[in-house]
Symmetry: D3
Subunit: 73 residues, 6 copies
């Protein structure tokens, strides 16, 4: 199946630089133009999508999940 388009505007392109494998979930670190973005996904989906270090991916998240913080000068 090919997804034609997804509603979320938050899709950051990057490349996987590290995977920490676990029995149920795994941590995937993606190098993006904004720095490292970390994702926790099921270990099964890593196999299903054939993800590995070097794979180019999109980090996708909903706008409702994003909090805003102000940084001290």
């Amino acid at each position: 199946m090919t997804i034609h388009a997804i509603n979320t505007r938050n899709q950051l392109p990057g490349r996987i630089v590290e995977i920490v494998h676990g029995p149920v979930v795994s941590e995937v670190d993606i190098e993006t133009a904004s720095g490292i973005v970390t994702s926790i996904v099921t270990s099964r989906s890593i196999k299903a999508l054939n993800l590995d270090v070097g794979t180019e991916v999109l980090a996708v998240f909903k706008a409702t999940e994003v909090m805003l913080a102000k940084v001290s000068p």
Copy 2:
């Protein structure tokens, strides 16, 4: 109160480029090195944090919220 550190590694620096104000929630668009990131927050928190176009912020989200997608070549 000043938060010293937060556990999430996903903190994207950017600048607010647009706010769509609503009665309960508002949309905040942030220009980051990875493109526009959109956040939906309560309209009250926009006032409480004094957010406006041009304000520098961090877009913060948990690793558990991030999905991974592969793009067709």
Copy 3:
């Protein structure tokens, strides 16, 4: 851009039966084999994806978002 594959296993096919439009976010009700699934998305993404009553969509959500409940007999 075409998304080749997305890691989430939770992708419910359905048809939009109602949209409640709001200034910032809108409610989209989707008829699925498991009943009505409701989604809150930005009103902008409804225009961007050209969603309307009758459009066939996938309701997509991460496994980490799903809680489990037991029902009394």
Copy 4:
């Protein structure tokens, strides 16, 4: 304690078909009318709710967590 009603409209009935146990979190796969729905919950809550293969459950998630995707014809 009995929860009388919960505000979310997204409650998919199903039956547990597999549990992948982990030290902290576990994966629970639920067969629903819309296909397999996967949930990641704490391993403690699996014991607390006495969940096992065959148990009938509701998969519950908030409308704000649901993204919409269009599929290529």
Copy 5:
């Protein structure tokens, strides 16, 4: 339908002290022992659950949604 038990351990008892009504979503402020907890829910679910100022509710959220922050002394 009566939900017998839900897997999440995060269920904070409180009383609604304010509702900000919107066309699609509404903000509900709940006074708890830990201070005010704010929830954004669909305006329809407020009617469906018959929620009003003074109603006693549980604020329910998944463990995967909770971030941890350290505060400066």
Copy 6:
């Protein structure tokens, strides 16, 4: 980096009473005035923030993540 302010109003103060360590994610139980709040975070962030039993923290979550439930009398 010091975060000056974060938009979410849901910040529950508490003290860590237990940590269940896992290879990828860990469970952190926090004693708050409203009872135990449980958080699932990456095991790396526990080291990065130097979290241990007894550490005082804030449990932070977005308003969009909070569901409301009514309890039977």
